[in-house]
């Protein structure tokens, strides 16, 4: 074998051994070279992987969209049936509401009570006492409208009262803010459990029926009192919101 070949092999082998022994610096050199020379290829590869991931995600979302579309159709059927039955029974029909997004400009906390200040679009009509919701549940109600600004009295306010119902057991109660959300009016024998979801009952006329409000976090039964002390955790984070939605009557 040629001497030059042995020398080249020796040099290559030595390079490998040096890289291997000075492990960290070797990988740093490698990364440096990779960064400068084959970066476009790596970007290309990453894009390729991203494309495959996006395609998989897209397929999954398409499947989900089809499933949701079928569910929606089913729910629409149920809604029509529900309305028909209500009509037959002579129930008051729930009026469909429009969702009006408004931008939160400030959240004030005064003595533990949360007030949300929002800015509405100039042409939208918002009146006091309209319910306000977030992406997950009830936020509060419109207290005051001044020009393009709305003052929302959240459920974390001592003045707010929300009539709610346990979505599992259909037990009624009134939600009040006393430094935390408490459910009042539930007797000691009331069927409420930790983890139950509370939704608006529709009573009182301000909040329409069926809006998610919170989850029961704790139930304290004191035999000396006539009602249970029930702590509720709201679905919505009332200390931070970027936008909220006013449910406007058409």
């Amino acid at each position: 074998m040629k001497k030059s070949l042995n020398i080249v092999y020796g040099v290559i082998l030595l390079t490998g051994v040096v890289f291997l022994l000075s492990e960290r610096s070797g990988s740093m050199i490698g990364e440096g070279i990779a960064y400068r020379t084959i970066l476009p290829f790596r970007v290309m590869l990453n894009n390729f992987h991203e494309l495959i991931r996006a395609k998989e995600e897209n397929d999954a979302l398409s499947r989900m969209a089809v499933a949701l579309s079928l569910k929606l159709q089913e729910l629409r059927e149920i809604q029509v049936e529900n309305q028909r039955l209500k009509k037959i029974l002579g129930f008051v029909q729930e009026q469909h509401r429009l969702i009006q997004p408004v931008q939160v400009v400030n959240i004030l906390t005064e003595a533990g009570n949360t007030i949300i200040i929002c800015k509405k679009k100039p042409y939208t009509i918002v009146k006091p006492d309209l319910p306000v919701v977030g992406y997950n549940g009830l936020i509060g109600k419109v207290k005051e409208v001044v020009d393009d600004y709305i003052r929302i009295q959240s459920i974390a306010h001592f003045m707010t009262r929300v009539s709610v119902i346990d979505s599992r057991s259909r037990v009624f109660g009134i939600l009040k803010w006393e430094g935390a959300l408490y459910l009042h009016g539930v007797p000691l024998t009331g069927d409420v459990k930790v983890g139950d979801t509370l939704v608006t009952s529709g009573m009182g006329g301000v909040y329409p029926k069926g809006i998610n409000v919170g989850i029961i976090k704790r139930v304290i039964i004191n035999r000396n009192e006539y009602q249970a002390t029930i702590l509720v955790e709201p679905f919505e984070n009332l200390s931070f919101q970027e936008e909220v939605f006013v449910l406007v009557k058409p």
Partner: protein, 157 residues
């Protein structure tokens, strides 16, 4: 010029091999198609470019697996060096010469794969679960490539 084309060709092959490896893995065994390319390249081309290409290919592979930087350089260049050393001593046209490919693939996989397994037991079992099957896959692929090359040569004659 020839060596430059060879290097560019190998870089492309490396990138394809590194990119599509996850999609062509059989039972989580990397295909390491580059072993085949190095094997046939060394047989067909002059020794010096083959050795340089082996070193550069190893370097490229190390960039993509920098934990044990240098392992691929050592493994690939040693494989090619031994092949060059045996070039005049083995009758490469025979199918039995593919056993060298099997031995080389086994050696490369042993050197570059085993250090990544933590513990002696895992390293030892990886010889039977990853290294040996991988070398067999390379052998089979080599057999297919050799048959194709031989057929082409026959047709050319």
């Amino acid at each position: 010029m020839r060596i430059f084309i060879a290097i560019v060709f190998f870089i492309i092959v490396c990138l394809i091999d590194l990119t599509f490896t996850p999609y062509f893995s059989l039972f989580h065994i990397k295909p390491y198609a580059i072993i085949l390319f190095l094997y046939f390249f060394t047989l067909k081309f002059s020794p010096l470019p083959a050795l340089i290409v082996a070193g550069l290919t190893g370097f490229l592979y190390d960039i993509f697996a920098p934990d044990w930087f240098g392992l691929h350089i050592i493994a690939f260049s040693t494989f090619v060096y031994v092949e060059i050393a045996l070039r005049d001593k083995v009758y490469w046209e025979r199918m039995i010469s593919l056993l060298f490919l099997f031995a080389g693939a086994f050696f490369i996989r042993l050197v570059v794969d085993v250090p990544f397994y933590a513990g002696f037991l895992k390293s030892f079992t990886s010889v039977f679960t990853s290294v040996l099957p991988g070398a067999l896959i390379n052998l089979l692929a080599g057999l297919v490539v050799k048959i194709i090359i031989d057929e082409k040569l026959k047709n050319a004659i």
